[in-house]
């Protein structure tokens, strides 16, 4: 041993600092205690946020990663601490969110002996991580963290797990941090081939009714301005997926709406009318395609995609454009002709008018008695800043908020898309707010979902993050109730909730609170929420049995999207 050696636990913290991590979202326990002890000396260099549950920690790290574009870091102890992270890992994997999760593990001689709080988290998390590793020697800690950060943020981002045995944390070793820039078996950015760019450009230039779908790949690839330039030149109508929302301002003239089960009428319907379909950084989720056998069969498909495993996975691409969409869009824009498609746009606008008449009007400016979720969002739009961030949970409120919130800038939409994890929003909103206290972060959550992670009101209290929580309380697991109404003969099996007094709970956590159950009070309440400087909790009692439309029922084609 020489004097310059430090403990593995300190190497963990120094490595995180070297990676520029600003926050660790975590929860302590036996097997990670040496790292927490080391943290005590680094509080001026890295901030630890104590959530109230490890699931809260990882969702907060996800919220932070989604709005910042940086790697979110979370930490937990072995056994139950580690298993509590799993939902978040699965969520981050399917939604391509860069995370480094660090878990403590029992002493290496005890591995495999069913020691106290031993769980095989490397085994359990294998299908829920992009990469994972167990570290049993102090000298392997820094290289594992370096490799983890590189893997998490490069290519198609995702979560990695680094499990560190307690003996490695307390052993002494040299600290010498070398960032990882290359792994020979890992090629995160396939090169864009010029020949496919030519083929794609030719299809686009000859198209009569081209149509572009964009997903989160545009945001992850920081290709927002390239997408805009491409659309400005080609005049092609563009629709977004749930996670792609915000990559293009909704005020852009080419923007025609949202795709998927509860997306807009025109973008879904006209998917089966276009002649060339250009998909950029999206993966044809079944919530987008409906019945894939009846999805865009008439169209030639151009698929701009970074992950080779996504090409031809769901929809066969006539021209697959493998590679970073920022690069391919830049190359494509050079090769495409300047065009306009007024007749084609008219078809979108006509269907949009139809949706406005049948659905949107009643949602946003209802005349019936009960409050709608839509009118709450309308008032939020009235007072929010252009770059306000909307974090939603999962259910009817998620779909309504997504449909009506006016997204103007990138990275303003945070939700659990691929996994649909109830309980995601409250901790994710905390993480999003921590990235930038000056931004408005609004958490729209249901009465069901909030109770899955309600304890994180405590983490918000402790950080004083000025999150605006808007609880849309319909006293139901609304989205499930809607399905029961439409597809199960209104047999409302276990979807009605006896709820607590949410206001009292929020007050107990020091939130400024307000409850609204009548239309006359709504606008004022929303206005007050936005001027309050600090955590705010607004509960709105909405109509119990409203439904979200349009809707593409499972197994239906995009053309069978229902307006009621």
């Amino acid at each position: 041993m020489n004097d310059s050696q430090i403990r593995g636990a300190e190497i963990v913290i120094k490595s995180l600092v070297a990676e520029n991590a600003k926050f660790i979202f975590g929860y302590p326990g036996g097997a990670i205690m040496p790292v927490y002890d080391a943290l005590y000396d680094y509080m001026d260099q890295i901030q630890h946020i104590l959530t109230r549950h490890e699931q809260g920690a990882i969702h907060a790290a996800q919220g932070y990663a989604r709005v910042s574009g940086k790697v979110g870091v979370c930490m937990a102890t072995s056994g139950p601490g580690a298993t509590n992270l799993i939902t978040g890992m699965a969520d981050a994997l399917i939604d391509s969110t860069p995370l480094v999760c660090i878990t403590g593990q029992v002493l290496s001689p005890l591995l495999g002996t069913d020691a106290f709080q031993e769980t095989d988290v490397v085994g359990i998390s294998m299908p829920a991580t992009k990469w994972n590793i167990q570290v049993r020697r102090v000298e392997d800690i820094a290289p594992a963290i370096a490799k983890g950060f590189h893997i998490a943020r490069s290519g198609r981002p995702g979560p990695v797990l680094i499990d560190i045995t307690k003996d490695a944390q307390v052993a002494l070793g040299d600290y010498n941090y070398v960032p990882c820039l290359n792994i020979r078996s890992y090629r995160p950015y396939p090169k864009v081939e010029d020949s496919v760019i030519d083929a794609a450009a030719e299809l686009i230039n000859n198209a009569k009714r081209p149509y572009l779908l964009y997903g989160q790949g545009v945001i992850l690839g920081k290709a927002e301005s390239q997408l805009k330039a491409f659309l400005d030149k080609t005049g092609i109508p563009a629709a977004c997926t749930l996670l792609g929302t915000g990559a293009l301002s909704e005020e852009h003239p080419n923007y025609v709406g949202k795709l998927g089960m509860h997306g807009n009428y025109a973008p879904n319907m006209l998917t089966n009318k276009c002649d060339v379909l250009i998909s950029v950084g999206m993966r044809f989720d079944d919530r987008v395609t409906g019945d894939v056998k009846r999805y865009a069969k008439q169209a030639k498909v151009i698929h701009l995609e970074l992950d080779p495993a996504e090409i031809n996975k769901i929809v066969k691409a006539d021209v697959p454009v493998l590679g970073d969409c920022k690069v391919s869009l830049e190359k494509l824009v050079e090769k495409v002709e300047k065009k306009e498609h007024p007749e084609w746009f008219k078809q979108f606008r006509a269907l949009e008018a139809e949706e406005k008449r049948v659905v949107v009007g009643n949602d946003l400016s209802p005349t019936k008695n009960g409050l709608t979720m839509g009118e709450v969002i309308r008032h939020i739009n009235e007072f929010k800043a252009d770059d306000a961030i909307l974090v939603t949970d999962v259910g009817q409120h998620q779909m309504v908020a997504w449909r009506y919130f006016e997204y103007k800038t990138s990275r303003t939409q945070v939700t659990s898309g691929g996994l649909g994890t109830m309980g995601f929003s409250l901790p994710a909103a905390l993480g999003a707010q921590l990235h930038d206290y000056s931004k408005e972060v609004i958490c729209v959550v249901g009465d069901g979902g909030i109770q899955m992670t309600i304890q994180e009101l405590g983490a918000i209290m402790q950080t004083k993050a000025p999150v605006k929580v808007v609880l849309l309380n319909n006293n139901f697991l609304g989205m499930v109730r809607q399905w029961q109404q439409l597809f199960f003969d209104k047999r409302y099996s276990f979807t009605e909730l006896d709820n607590p007094d949410f206001i009292k709970i929020a007050e107990a956590y020091n939130f400024k609170v307000q409850i609204v159950d009548e239309r006359v009070d709504l606008r004022q309440a929303v206005a007050e929420m936005f001027v309050h400087d600090g955590p705010y909790f607004l509960e709105v009692k909405v109509e119990k049995e409203d439904n979200v439309f349009p809707m593409i029922a499972t197994g239906s084609s995009v053309e069978e999207v229902r307006l009621k």
């Binding site: 085994g123 990469w131 893997i151 792994i183 078996s185």
Partner: protein, 166 residues
């Protein structure tokens, strides 16, 4: 159309890699018919040979998912015609079954006795599954006490080299 494919995977020697690969099959409910692993020509690079009965579409997806694993260098897939492959089979026969008939069978199948113990002999045959299976059927009349067959080991006919991917 389903047919037999061999996926040949080159990987780093990383703990857990076999689990990660098999998870790709279990998740999709695809049975692995044969699985062998060994070091390749390059020190430190492992070669895993997986046999599946599936469609071309599916085998492409499987190969891409396998390649997506960080420590996998490359996954190739082949139909039988594109590979030279062998499997090894061992048959354990009681000593009292030995008679001239058995000797004839062994010669005919190009098999050999690799061990003779007090109570039994062990016969070895290398070849394709059809051949080793055939021999098993024939040997049944001599009372096969134990039978085991390895997964296939295979080299590809197309002249692609892993060097290109390092």
């Amino acid at each position: 159309m389903k047919r037999r494919y061999t996926i040949s995977v080159f990987t780093e020697n990383f703990i857990g890699i076999l689990s990660r690969i098999t998870l790709i099959f279990t998740r999709r409910g695809i049975n692995i018919d044969g699985f062998t692993a060994s070091e390749s020509r390059e020190e430190g690079i492992y070669r895993i040979t997986i046999e599946v009965n599936t469609t071309e579409e599916q085998v492409i997806q499987l190969s891409r998912q396998i390649e997506k694993i960080i420590d996998v260098i490359k996954a190739f897939y082949y139909v039988d015609d594109e590979m030279v492959f062998q499997e090894i089979a061992l048959y354990k026969i009681p000593i009292d079954s030995i008679d001239p008939g058995l000797e004839k069978v062994i010669r005919q199948y190009n098999a050999k006795i690799i061990s003779a113990e007090k109570d039994f002999v062990v016969i070895e045959m290398t070849g394709h599954k059809e051949d080793t299976q055939d021999l098993l059927e024939v040997l049944k009349e001599f009372n096969v006490l134990e039978f085991v067959r390895s997964g296939r080991v295979a080299v590809a006919k197309p002249m692609v080299s892993i060097d290109k991917y390092l």
